[in-house]
Symmetry: C3
Subunit: 159 residues, 3 copies
């Protein structure tokens, strides 16, 4: 029997939505389902390594944009009720009370379990992100590569 | 011929998005398409029964969270132009002018027409929601049960 | 071999999300994939022609709503970091630096390349939009027509 396959387009760059996506991705890998995550626009901030930021070879706008946006998974805001971070802290406390892993743990789990990481070429170029600022597992691809992968999947979500 | 099937992941907990999802769900049932709605995170607030709220057996954060969040379908905000509820009132007036049913009517229609209601186990636990606070048709399942249902569907949306 | 087909539900009416959707739609057409875009709620504002607005035969709420909402693709806000338009200007400058086309160019490309444009009948009626205010390529259809098209596609997204 052919392996099942899913493809999630990670657009929004929000803590709660990324959490939902990565919980699905991890569960799918445990069921031996192939998983591709395609990161575009705000979604790319999830893959930034806070230790590897650079300002070199960037325009003024790219520098400003890079400084105003989240640096890595734990800096992402909630999609609602963020309240300048207080709502997010509340959610994190509630997650800890239930011994639920954090977003960074689900991200590391996905990497370990062999999820495929694709990054949108156009988004990376427009935002001026450098390959070395993002996780090394990320492969930069164009919209057509995304589409081929997505259309060959049993399920696609825009998150 | 095998029956068609759709699966909608209800994440956002916003009046307008929930309306779109439930209009699709009702139309699908009228076409004899099988429908599963999987409620996660903010989406669960759509299924709260305002008459059956409880504070028992909840942590302080869970109590606060429960009080700050919408209690049932008609309390959900719009995803944009909510303006503290004024934008939503405007939309509701415009819907009434066209004799369009309200969200609660579409929800009751979906229940009557045999839509399957799944709720995300992890979300329910983290938010401290009790089964008796939610509609009785809801079945609490894990991410793998969602995935199996979704991958066996002809269409999946993240709403 | 049968042609591949995708269906995107355009709900949100935000510049960045519409851009992502139209980049996918254009890339798909270049791969000879059939594309349907179904515009509902806020998504319809992308198709307004700023030259063809009318106040005739509209209720007071419909007039107010029409004036408070974006008139055509270039007026759409960002889904985040819009900052009253400053964030969007920054993104547009960064796009120009990379010689990336604007949203209106991708929309015109999609029209030229034969993307199918569907508009949600219920949304159009509730918002009081007139057919002549929207692009002439738009065909007004009901939820069942959307569902038939979507379920016959290889990929569906809610954007």
């Amino acid at each position: 029997m052919e392996k099942k396959k899913i493809n999630l387009l990670m657009f929004s760059g929000e803590y709660d939505k990324a959490l939902a996506a990565l919980i699905i991705a991890n569960a799918a890998r445990e069921m031996e389902v192939e998983v591709t995550l395609f990161f575009a626009f705000w979604g790319l901030f999830l893959l930034r390594d806070p230790e590897k930021m650079t300002l070199e070879d960037k325009t003024t706008y790219e520098k400003m944009f890079g400084m105003m946006t989240p640096k890595g998974p734990e800096e992402l805001p909630l999609s609602k009720m963020n309240f300048g971070g207080i709502g997010k802290e509340m959610l994190l406390e509630m997650m800890e009370d239930d011994k639920a892993p954090r977003l960074i743990d689900f991200l590391n789990g996905a990497i370990k379990k062999g999820v495929r990481f694709y990054g949108c070429k156009l988004s990376v170029e427009i935002m001026g992100l450098k390959k070395e600022e993002l996780i090394p597992e990320l492969e930069i691809v164009d919209a057509k590569t995304y589409l081929e992968d997505a259309m060959a999947s049993d399920m696609q979500l825009f998150i």
